[in-house]
Symmetry: C2
Subunit: 215 residues, 2 copies
DNA sequence: CGACGATTTGAATAGGATCAATGGGAGTGG
DNA sequence: CCACTCCCATTGATCCTATTCAAATCGTCG
């Protein structure tokens, strides 16, 4: 994007540090700011019919609720810090201004939105086409790949959060881990070892059109 | 968008009529064309782990797989005509060209993508936060609203398709309709009458952040 | 009229959720 | 440093939802 637009956004932005478990936004609120996670972790979650679910975990450096800001609409999701986090807040007004003025910025946003869209589509496929155990197995393989494919995974979130993220209860997650034991999966607190990646992959049936970050 | 860009796209495009149940694209294929439904209905669906699910039904006039075209990536979903349909095929190359050249077009695409993104997020909330019966109840209320809120709904698709769309089996859909009978829902073939919209809404708990088209 | 596919219904099963209780750290305050 | 508390995670038992398998019914189309 143009230097000037960038400067304008940075000038208008606030960089703040928030403690863990602080609610940043609530679904239904008007989109006053675009949020960018600089450090830490932010949980996006949602409510309906008396239930709550984790929609996504946002890690540095990523923006969230971009679509709402551009549309000048209300947030569809709530957000809270999962741990102490440094977050950049950019007034929506400025984002929309830069979007209207700066062609390069507008195009960059398209790429970002296209990626976000495809990510959610993949998640929907994951949810509708796989059982809970399959989802967990694939998730473990993904974490392993992200962490260097050593066969030793450190879970990036609380188990209750992971359970909600992949669409199950904490109890069920615990049982799903047990189900994976015969496939070489051992759990010790937040550490998971994958003894036989092939066996696990055979169960999980990983699919690039669901599990690959890019593409 | 600019007249010239529009002309260019139209010039390069093919308008074709396809019979029902014709597979237009398959997930994993490179995105060679952007598709626009002019008449008829197109089903987007996906496979994984030996299962298949309906992801969306696209009606006129709407484009599908825009994100894949822009990213020059592979399709995440397959598509088939649900009935005889007239479809506009625009070569991806031309779309990306227009996107690069025409600023107004690029901005229009942002709006389109932002809407698509928010739609999928809503669907994910629907899936994760509601039971099958609640999803059906809300879907019926939505159809009723779309069709004029007369309390008489004509199902826009086969029941098996609707079942897959809202994430259940055809058998379960049939039973879900029976579950809704005490709430004033009567089914006769493709026609559904809603005798007591309040009772149904009380069960469904419709939520603008999930069920409203706009917002 | 006959065949096929869609829908419905029934029965049995499986997958997940809920409720309840226990064990296990991490953090707090004395 | 230790005891206490709280919350997370696990386990057990049970319940409920939804899927699967099977069969019957219905409607449509050739």
């Amino acid at each position: 994007m143009a230097e000037a637009s960038f400067e304008d956004l940075v000038q208008a932005a606030y960089l703040q540090t928030f403690p863990a478990q602080l609610e940043l936004i609530a679904e239904g609120d008007p989109a006053d700011f675009l949020y960018v996670v600089m450090e830490g972790y932010v949980e996006l979650f949602a409510h309906a019919n008396g239930r709550e679910t984790t929609m996504a975990m946002v890690r540095p450096v990523n923006a969230f609720i971009l679509a709402a800001v551009l549309k000048d609409a209300v947030y569809l999701m709530s957000a809270r810090t999962a741990r102490k986090s440094r977050i950049l807040l950019i007034p929506s007004e400025n984002v929309r201004e830069a979007f209207a003025r700066d062609d390069a910025f507008a195009r960059a946003i398209v790429v970002e939105l296209a990626n976000s869209y495809r990510t959610v589509v993949k998640e929907q496929k994951d949810l509708k086409l796989r059982t809970a155990v399959e989802r967990l197995a694939n998730r473990l393989l993904r974490y392993d790949a992200e962490q260097g494919a050593h066969g030793t995974v450190t879970l990036p979130h609380d188990k209750r959060t992971i359970a909600s993220l992949i669409g199950m209860t904490p109890e069920n997650l615990s049982r799903a881990f047990n189900t994976l034991k015969p496939y070489g999966v051992e759990v010790t607190g937040p550490t998971v070892t994958i003894a036989d990646a092939d066996a696990l992959a055979n169960l999980a049936q990983p699919n690039p059109l669901i599990d690959d970050e890019t593409s």
